[in-house]
Symmetry: C2
Subunit: 212 residues, 2 copies
Amino acid sequence: MPAKAIPFRKFSKRSQNQKVILEAAEKVFAEAGFAGATTQLIADVAGLPKANVHYYFKTKEEIYRRVVYNIFDIWMEAASAFDTALGPKEALSRYIDKKVDLARSHPYGSKVWAAEIMHGAPIIQDYLEGQLLEWSNDRGTHIERWIAGGEMDPIDPAHLLYMIWSTTQHYADFGHQINTLNGGKPYSDSQWQAVKKSIKTVILKGVGLSPD
Amino acid sequence: MPAKAIPFRKFSKRSQNQKVILEAAEKVFAEAGFAGATTQLIADVAGLPKANVHYYFKTKEEIYRRVVYNIFDIWMEAASAFDTALGPKEALSRYIDKKVDLARSHPYGSKVWAAEIMHGAPIIQDYLEGQLLEWSNDRGTHIERWIAGGEMDPIDPAHLLYMIWSTTQHYADFGHQINTLNGGKPYSDSQWQAVKKSIKTVILKGVGLSPD
DNA sequence: GTCTATACACTGATAGAC
DNA sequence: GTCTATCAGTGTATAGAC
């Protein structure tokens, strides 16, 4: 019998502090970039002394790595909303809705992802060549099947996917520009609804699927 | 009569070196971000000693400022390709073509712009609230007129513009991801043509304009 | 586990010889 | 106008008291 009970609570002090640090880091990396993000600022936003950040994570790169992986996981989970069994209209529709929801709920993660890709994917390259490529090929095959079956207009599946990714993520990555052109105010609930509707209307009709 | 002729050649040594530095800086800022871009690296890419970079530009921020302004000018010039006198189909068509051309010819500038916006537009905020807002409102008014005249489907003009900006710029900003999914190879001429065609087909048809 | 103090490396910018 | 040497400031990471 061990002299001391092993802590196995779901919310141990350790995991709780790590979570706080990772959330702070996501925000700081998004707003300042990897090089511009100082561990001091991450610590300040997390409400901890700088040394504690280094106690939970060996290096700044390790924090960054975790943040990027987290976002990739969330996105791949959303990608499963692209359920080909539902047919083109419903599958694309739900996927777009899900992507807009994520742009709204995870704007920092979206920006970190965008910066990671823009800098040549130094951390996430393996995943691009693995999981993402596999997923894209799979969905592409289904789209081509729908096209061959006359269910939708012919289009290169890759460009359709890029169109969905770009239009939805734009509302996160360029949120500052959008807010500025919106009179300096962030989007309201109804405006976010309008985003979904606009994107779905144009893309679905654009590939020959009646939107409603 | 002056004792010394004032150099007025179009390609003075000064302006030539400045141009080399700005081009190097655009690339370095795009790939490493503002904080990650070192003056040493900019100098190396430009093929000059670091001290010379500081001779031509007082600070790193001044170089960055110039790079961002340059890109903004290029984009606003492209924005004039959105010629409302041509009617909706031709105006949107030419604007999309122009934006894709720029994504291909200025991938670094596009990335610097994206990062600038993602970080809250610390340098370019005034231009967003000025020229860009004015241009967007002007084009938005024309789009609404076309909609009222039954020339195209109803859509919030802002979302249509964001759709064009996002889909086209995506091929620059996320070029690395796109190349990875393209077997690691950059797009060929014909693939870039296909990009234009795909975007125009979906968006034009999506707003009720027959593409060809 | 927490936090202060500090070591060590790097970067922006400049001085000053040529 | 060019370039070497250098300084001042900042940032990551750690040592060590509590």
